[in-house]
Amino acid sequence: MYQYDKYDQAMVDARVAEFRDQTERRLNGQLTEAQFRPLRLMNGLYLQLHAYMLRVAVPYGTLSARQLRMLAHIARKYDRDYGHFTTRQNIQYNWIKLSDAPDILADLASVEMHAIQTSGNCIRNISSDQYAGVAADEVADPRPLAELLRQWSSFHPEFVALPRKFKIAVIASAEDRAAMRLHDIGIELVNKDGVIGARVFVGGGMGRTPMIAPEVRDFVPFEEVVSYLEACLRVYNRYGRRDNKYKARIKILVHEMGVDEYRRQVEEEFLHLKTLGIDPPIAELERIATYFAPPPYKQGLSDEIDRRDPAFAQWVDQQVAPHKQPGYAIVNISLKPIGGIAGDASSAQMDLIADLAERYSFDELRVTHAQNIVLAHVKKADLPAVWKALAGAGLATANLDLITDIIACPGLDYCSLANARSIPVAQKIAERFADTGRQQDLGELKLKISGCINACGHHHAGHIGILGVDRKGVENYQLLLGGSGAEDVSLGQITGPGFDENGIVDAVEKATQVYLDNREGGERFLDTYRRIGMKPFKDVLYA
């Protein structure tokens, strides 16, 4: 994985000093809260319902064992002994003291980490495919470009006060594991006549006005990607709406302007920007790419897996994905234990996962946008040992992509924006379907819950989505069907009137029954819904 050189280290060290100074000026009254707010947000520090929340960047979701141990240390020392992995592949801590924040940033900088631009109206952490470098179907490794863009976007002077936050994802496979087209900019690396470049989508997003990003350019050569993105951002910075924060994302600009007019303006800026020498040379991308060279895999390993233990075999079937290297496998560690909180991990669990990564997976792990963890290169012969260690720490739940692998936002238990609680609803649904045979019979079924229309729980992209709203002071839950964040991207549709907390759990169960009664062949829930439409579901839900 990428390692800082003296320049990268000097930049994060300078940032720590800067934030220490800004925090001191806030604490001694030189800065008002209004003036301090955008500064702390650019460092990932939010004021939540009960305390400050600190969001730490995990660039494109990749961590080393040493880094994960530091995240565990921060949880122990400054928080309540746990952290929460997010849908942007980051980690956040919910109980931070403002006066501790500069020390936490210094601890992070000591392991080449930071919280730069993890919130605020700027370019956020770049997300990517958790199977990068090991997926058989990728045209190139997306991480070198993601790292190049991390550096380009860090402290970019023109884009520090955008109309709204700005999220970029980079993938390189036809199979989209990163919800690429639901980002402000989605980049898919493609091979055009033997040359790798970027296919660029602009204007996707969830929130209160969900949109799927349209393609704005089918190919940008690597050596012009920075110019092209600056053009995309400049048009947005100049013309994105600033009169209404709910209409300020780039998706609204692209929608109101029309994609053709947006594209025309971007092309005009691009023609000019690419003459200015602002693009790093290919040699820089190549320098970065050397850090992502395949690890020294052992050759000639067996693909045999001893499946005699049925619990182990079930875990393998659910959590282990094929690796491009013979003898190796991709292990998905579920952070969705039944009755737990999606994405939460204790410091002890983080330490254990770090140990496993070091021992069995070339000292590297990834955070997924579905709030799980991946060990990307495990020998098949080591799978029983890994499983055993995970089981001992409550980390061997076998539910990847099943109905209990729920994405849920923190909701009203933590968040000052929320209208309703998400966590208890997720727990109740998980408990309802916990019988493993039952959830496995349902197969792939992505259920996503948001506690308000800002959609941090990605409810629009759930095969089943749940949106918590406030209905005359009472928490109420709307049900959506048919969304997808994958390569078959679509937005879920609301079924009709909402339900109370217990009612929504029943409604989910009824919807799954309609699927079971109607599915044909190997159809997933989503496929059946797409074939039979909303009506059969409504008939049962509102009978």
Partner: protein
């Protein structure tokens, strides 16, 4: 406390009164103009040779349109004084310098100590922008780049 700050050490700040973009369009002899956040800096491109001062107003420190306006003017070769006015805070000035601003007329006076610390903070830069800083990628790959 500073009511005015400039990085144009070699020349005095322009005292010319800045007129609005609308007034400028009707006057052939004005040498100083002020543009608001919603106005298009490109309207000034035909007149860059005769302008001594362009003021770019920041109506709020969260409104970043002026950063793009500054870069556009510098990219088109404007080398006169480029002044950020309005809601200009210490922690933004480093970014403004990088976008091409070289003088600052803030609404609220600036603390000179905090300003000096902010401007000296970052040893290098990741991007090429409108200032003279060579980006880190150029430093990594030697003189033929950047």
């Amino acid at each position: 406390m500073l009511d005015f700050f400039t990085t144009r050490h070699d020349q005095p700040a322009s005292e010319a009164p800045a007129v609005t973009l609308e007034a400028f369009a009707g006057q052939s002899n004005a040498v100083a103009v002020r543009i608001e956040a919603g106005e298009d800096a490109r309207e000034l491109l035909p007149y860059l040779d005769r302008l001594q001062l362009i003021e770019v107003n920041f109506p709020a420190f969260t409104d970043g349109r002026g950063y793009s306006a500054a870069r556009i003017l510098r990219e088109q070769g404007y080398d006169g004084e480029l002044r950020a006015t309005g809601a200009v805070l210490v922690d933004q000035i480093g970014h403004m310098v990088r976008c091409g601003f070289d003088s600052f007329g803030p609404d609220q006076p600036l603390d000179p100590i905090a300003l000096k610390a902010a401007l000296g903070r970052f040893p290098q830069r990741y991007q090429k922008a409108a200032d003279a800083a060579r980006p880190i990628w150029a430093l990594r790959h030697g003189s033929k780049h950047g």
